[in-house]
C-alpha cells in the first residue's frame, strides 16, 4: 500500500465515520438510525483494518474485524430486536429541532478541530490528523444523548460516543492491546443488554420509552 492510497483510504473511512454520525442527527425514524449506526460500525472496521494493513499487523486487523462484528453486527441486531418488540416509531419531538442540531454539530466539529491541534502537532501523521473526526463524533454522540427523548436514540448516542473513543484510541496509538479492546467491547455489550432490558421494563411500566417519564421517580 503506497502512502497516497493509505491516506485516501483512511480519509474515506473517517469521512464515512463522520457522515454517518451527522446523518444519525438528521434522520428521525428509529429504524434508520439503527441502520446508520451499523454503517458507522463498518466505517470503524474499515478504519482499523486500513491502519492494521498499513502497519502490517495481523492482530490489529483481527481486532478490527472483531470490533466490526460487534458494532456492525451484534449491537444493531439487538437494537433492531428491541425496536421490533416496541413496534418501531419515530423520534417524535427532540428537545432541540433537527436544523438546530445540525448547526450545533458544525459548531462542535469546529470545537473538536481547535481542541485537537496540540495533539496533531505532537506527531503530524495522517492518522493523528484524523483525530478531530473522532472527537467530533464523540461530542455529537453526547449531544444526541442529551437532546433525544426516546431510549433507543439515546442508546445510539451512547454507542456513538463509544465508537468515537475506540476510533480515537486506534488513531492516536499504534494499536490497542487485545485485552483492553476486549474489555471495552464487553462493557459496551453489557451496557446495551442492560439498556435493552430497561427499555422493555419502561415500556411495561409507562407504555412508552420517553425517558422524561422517569421524572415521576423523583422524590
Amino acid at each position: 500500500m503506497t502512502d497516497a492510497t493509505f491516506v485516501q483510504l483512511l480519509d474515506l473511512a473517517c469521512g464515512a465515520f463522520l457522515l454517518t454520525a451527522v446523518l444519525v442527527l438528521w434522520r428521525r425514524e428509529l429504524a434508520a438510525i439503527v441502520w446508520l449506526f451499523a454503517l458507522q460500525g463498518i466505517a470503524l472496521t474499515a478504519l482499523i483494518v486500513v491502519l492494521g494493513a498499513r502497519q502490517g499487523d495481523v492482530e490489529l486487523i483481527l481486532i478490527g474485524l472483531g470490533v466490526g462484528a460487534l458494532r456492525a453486527g451484534l449491537l444493531p441486531y439487538l437494537m433492531r430486536r428491541a425496536l421490533v418488540a416496541g413496534g418501531g416509531g419515530r423520534e417524535t419531538q427532540p428537545l432541540v429541532n433537527v436544523a438546530t442540531s445540525l448547526l450545533v454539530a458544525a459548531v462542535l466539529a469546529m470545537l473538536a478541530y481547535a481542541l485537537s491541534q496540540p495533539l496533531v502537532r505532537l506527531s503530524p501523521t495522517p492518522a493523528t490528523q484524523a483525530v478531530p473526526v473522532a472527537l467530533t463524533v464523540l461530542l455529537i454522540g453526547f449531544f444526541l444523548l442529551v437532546t433525544r427523548r426516546r431510549a433507543l436514540s439515546q442508546l445510539v448516542g451512547f454507542l456513538l460516543m463509544d465508537n468515537a473513543i475506540t476510533a480515537a484510541a486506534f488513531l492516536t496509538t499504534s494499536g490497542v492491546p487485545l485485552v483492553v479492546e476486549l474489555g471495552i467491547s464487553l462493557d459496551v455489550l453489557l451496557a446495551v443488554l442492560v439498556l435493552q432490558v430497561l427499555t422493555t421494563r419502561m415500556r411495561a411500566a409507562f407504555g412508552g420509552t420517553d425517558l422524561d417519564e422517569l421524572r415521576e421517580l423523583h422524590d
Binding site: L111, L115, R215, H218
Partner: protein, 669 residues
C-alpha cells in the same frame, strides 16, 4: 530476609489467615480460630517491632504489588516502637474479643475485618513510600469504620457516630494526601529516602507540614479535630475501641514525628509551638470533658484525647527545643512522648477491655446506672482498678514515669530556649500538672462510682463475672502496665534508639534501677517507689489489723439519719461527683441544665413533679461544627432546584460542562 522481616511477614500472614478463617470456619469455631490467629499476628508483629527496636532494620520493595511505584516497606526503630504497641494491643484485644463477641458480634464479615484492621495498623508505620503509606492509612480508616458500624442495627446512635467518623477520617486523609503529594512532587520521588534528601523551599515545607499536621491531628483526636473520637469510641464494640484508642490514634503521633521531624528534618520553632499548644489544649479540654462525662466509654474516649495531647506536647517540645538548639532536651522530650504512647496504650487497653467486660455483663455503660460490681465481678474490678491507677499519673502507675520525663524536659528547657520558651514552657508545665490532677479525679470517679458501693440499677445488680478468656486478655494488658511501671529502665533506652532515628547520637537515660537523665540533673526510680509504696501500704494494713484485733468486734446498725433504710438512690453518682468540677470550669464547659416543675392541678404551690435534666455538650463541636454543618445543609437544600428529576437535564449538565471546559481549554491554550 532477616529476623525482623520474617516476623513481620509472618504477622501479616497470620492476619490473612485470621481473615480467611473468619470467612470460612463454621460458626462454632470461628471466634476461637479468628481470635487466636489475630493474637498470633499481634504477637509476631510485636516481636518484629522489638527486633527492630533492638537495632535490626529491614526494608523491602515489592514492585508488582502496587501500580506505577510498587509497595515499599521498611522497619527502623521508630517504626518498630509503634509496631510493638500495635502488636501487643492486638494480642490483648483479640483474646478479649473471643469472649466479647459471643453475643451477636460473631458474624463472618466483622470477624474478618478485625485482622485486616490490625494488619493495616502494622503497615502504616512500616510504609516507606508515599503511596504505600496512603494506601495503608486508607485501609486503616475504612476497616475501622466498618468495625465501628458493627452494631448499627442495635442502636441508631452508632450510625451517627459512623457518619462523623467517616467524614472526619476522610477529610484527614485528604489533608495528608495533599500534603504528601505536594512533598513528593517537590522532592521528585515518592520513597521516604528520596523525601529525606529533598531540599524544598521553606514555604512549600510549611504547607506540607501544616496540611499533614491537620490530617494527623484529626486521627490523634487533637482539639479541635477530635469530635469524631468521643462519638466513635463509645459506639464501637469494646475490643475495637481498645484497638482504636490504644493503637490507631498513635498513628497520628507517628505521622507528625515521621513527617515533621524525620522527613522534613524539623523546621522553624513556630511549627512546633503550634503542635505544643494544640497538644496542651487537647490535654486540658479532653480531661475536663472526661471528668464531667458519665458514660464510661465516652469518658475513656475523652481521656484518649488528653493523653494524645500530652504526647503532642512532648513531640512539639522536642521539635521546638531542636529548633532552638538544645538537642539534649529535645531527645528527652521525644523519648518522653514515645514512652507516653506506650504507657497510654497499655493502660487504655486495660480500661477499654474492662469497660467491655462491664458492658458485656450488664449491658450498661452509664456510670449513673452502674455500681456494686466489686462483689459481683471481683476480677474485672481489680483489673479496672489497676488500669485506673496507671491512668492517673500517680506512682506507682506507668503514666507517672512518662509524665515525669516530659515535665523534666520542659522544666529544664526554660533557661536556654529564649523568650518563646520562657513563656510557653512554664505554661505547658502548668497545663500538664492541671490535667494530671483532673485525671486523678476522673479515674477516681470512674472506678469509685462505676464499681464500688451498691448497684444503681437492676442490670448492674444482675451482673456476673465475665468468661476467663476475657479476663485473660485484660490481665495481659495489666501485666504490660505493671512491667512498664516497674521497669522503665529497660524500655526507655530501647525507645532511645527510636528517638535516635530523628535526633541521632545521644543516649537519653542511663542506670539499671534508677533512671538518670543524660545531660541534665534528674533521677527517678519507679521500682524503688513502687516497693516503698507497697511496703508502707502493707505496714499500715498490718498495723490496722493488729490494732483492730485487740478490741472485740461489735455489730451495729448503720446510722442513716433516721430516714432509713438507705437505698441506692442516695449514693453519690458520677454526675454529682463531677458537679463541683463542673462548677469550677463553668466558663469553659458551658453546661446546659433544664429544670421542669409541674405543679399540681389544685394549687400552684404544691409540686407534683420536678424534672431536672443536665448535660455537658462538647462546646467546640457546638461552636465550630454546627454552623459549618448548617451551612452545608443550606447549600444542599438550595441545590435541590438543580435536580428536577429529568434525565435530559442531568445529561445536559454534563454536556454543557464538558463543552464549556473544552472551549476554555481551546481559548486559553
Amino acid at each position: 530476609m532477616n529476623l525482623v522481616g520474617t516476623l513481620f511477614v509472618a504477622s501479616l500472614s497470620c492476619c490473612a489467615l485470621a481473615a480467611a478463617a473468619a470467612l470460612t470456619a463454621p460458626a462454632k469455631a470461628r471466634l476461637w480460630l479468628a481470635g487466636l490467629c489475630t493474637a498470633a499476628a499481634g504477637a509476631c508483629g510485636a516481636a518484629a517491632g522489638v527486633a527492630a527496636l533492638a537495632g535490626q532494620s529491614w526494608s523491602a520493595w515489592l514492585p508488582g504489588l502496587l501500580p506505577l511505584a510498587g509497595a515499599r516497606l521498611a522497619l527502623d526503630p521508630l517504626s518498630g516502637a509503634f509496631v510493638v504497641v500495635t502488636g501487643t494491643v492486638a494480642v490483648c484485644a483479640a483474646i478479649h474479643g473471643i469472649g466479647y463477641c459471643r453475643h451477636g458480634l460473631d458474624g463472618r464479615v466483622f470477624q474478618a475485618v478485625l485482622p485486616v484492621f490490625v494488619a493495616s495498623m502494622l503497615l502504616v508505620p512500616a510504609a516507606a513510600s508515599v503511596s504505600t503509606f496512603l494506601l495503608a492509612w486508607e485501609l486503616m480508616a475504612v476497616s475501622s469504620l466498618l468495625l465501628v458500624l458493627a452494631e448499627h442495627r442495635r442502636n441508631t446512635s452508632v450510625r451517627r457516630a459512623g457518619l462523623w467518623y467517616a467524614v472526619m477520617t476522610h477529610l484527614g486523609l485528604v489533608a495528608i494526601l495533599v500534603g504528601l503529594v505536594a512533598f513528593a512532587a517537590g522532592a521528585g520521588g515518592e520513597s521516604f529516602a528520596q523525601l529525606r534528601e529533598a531540599g524544598l523551599p521553606p514555604a512549600v515545607k510549611t504547607v506540607v507540614f501544616l496540611t499533614t499536621l491537620a490530617g494527623f491531628a484529626s486521627k490523634a483526636g487533637i482539639v479541635p479535630l477530635h469530635v469524631w473520637l468521643p462519638r466513635a469510641h463509645p459506639e464501637a464494640p469494646s475490643h475495637v475501641s481498645a484497638l482504636m484508642s490504644a493503637a490507631m490514634v498513635n498513628m497520628g503521633a507517628y505521622g507528625v514525628v515521621r513527617v515533621g521531624l524525620d522527613l522534613l528534618h524539623g523546621g522553624p520553632a513556630w511549627w512546633w509551638l503550634l503542635v505544643l499548644a494544640a497538644g496542651a489544649v487537647s490535654a486540658l479540654y479532653g480531661i475536663l470533658q472526661a471528668a464531667v462525662s458519665s458514660d464510661l466509654k465516652r469518658l475513656l474516649g475523652y481521656s484518649t484525647t488528653e493523653n494524645l495531647g500530652l504526647v503532642m506536647v512532648g513531640v512539639g517540645a522536642a521539635g521546638f527545643l531542636a529548633a532552638t538548639g538544645i538537642p539534649v532536651l529535645a531527645t528527652l522530650a521525644l523519648a518522653a512522648a514515645l514512652l507516653h504512647v506506650v504507657n497510654h496504650a497499655a493502660f487504655k487497653t486495660t480500661l477499654f477491655l474492662s469497660a467491655g467486660s462491664v458492658l458485656y455483663a450488664t449491658g450498661v455503660r452509664d456510670l449513673d446506672a452502674l455500681g456494686g460490681l466489686r462483689d459481683r465481678m471481683p476480677y474485672t474490678t481489680a483489673l479496672f482498678a489497676a488500669g485506673a491507677l496507671c491512668a492517673s499519673a500517680l506512682p506507682p502507675g506507668n503514666a507517672f514515669v512518662s509524665e515525669w520525663l516530659l515535665l523534666q524536659s520542659l522544666i529544664h528547657a526554660v533557661p536556654g530556649s529564649g523568650v518563646a520558651g520562657a513563656v510557653t514552657m512554664p505554661l505547658a508545665v502548668g497545663m500538664i500538672a492541671l490535667s494530671a490532677g483532673l485525671a486523678v479525679a476522673t479515674f477516681v470517679k470512674a472506678f469509685g462510682v462505676g464499681f464500688l458501693a451498691r448497684p444503681r440499677s437492676a442490670e448492674a445488680g444482675r451482673a456476673e463475672e465475665v468468661p476467663p478468656v476475657m479476663l485473660g486478655g485484660t490481665a495481659l494488658a495489666v501485666a504490660c502496665c505493671v512491667a512498664l511501671a516497674v521497669a522503665p529502665t529497660v524500655v526507655v533506652p530501647a525507645l532511645g534508639r527510636a528517638v535516635a532515628v530523628v535526633f541521632p547520637g545521644r543516649d537519653v537515660v542511663s542506670g539499671e534501677l534508677t533512671l538518670r537523665l543524660a545531660g541534665v540533673s534528674g533521677v527517678v526510680s519507679p521500682l524503688l517507689i513502687a516497693v516503698a509504696l507497697l511496703v508502707s501500704v502493707m505496714a499500715v494494713l498490718v498495723l490496722v489489723r493488729v490494732a483492730a484485733t485487740r478490741r472485740a468486734r461489735r455489730a451495729a446498725r448503720l446510722w442513716d439519719c433516721g430516714a432509713g433504710p438507705m437505698s441506692a438512690r442516695m449514693e453519690y453518682t458520677a454526675t454529682s461527683f463531677a458537679e463541683p468540677l463542673q462548677r469550677v470550669f463553668d466558663n469553659v464547659l458551658a453546661p446546659e441544665s433544664d429544670v421542669d416543675v409541674t405543679p399540681m392541678k389544685e394549687s400552684a404551690y404544691l409540686v407534683e413533679r420536678v424534672r431536672f435534666h443536665a448535660r455537658v455538650p462538647d462546646r467546640i463541636e457546638h461552636r465550630l461544627y454546627d454552623p459549618l454543618i448548617a451551612a452545608a445543609a443550606a447549600v444542599g437544600r438550595r441545590a435541590r432546584v438543580l435536580a428536577t428529576g429529568s434525565v435530559h437535564r442531568y445529561l445536559g449538565y454534563g454536556f454543557w460542562a464538558l463543552a464549556g471546559a473544552l472551549v476554555v481549554l481551546v481559548v486559553l491554550w
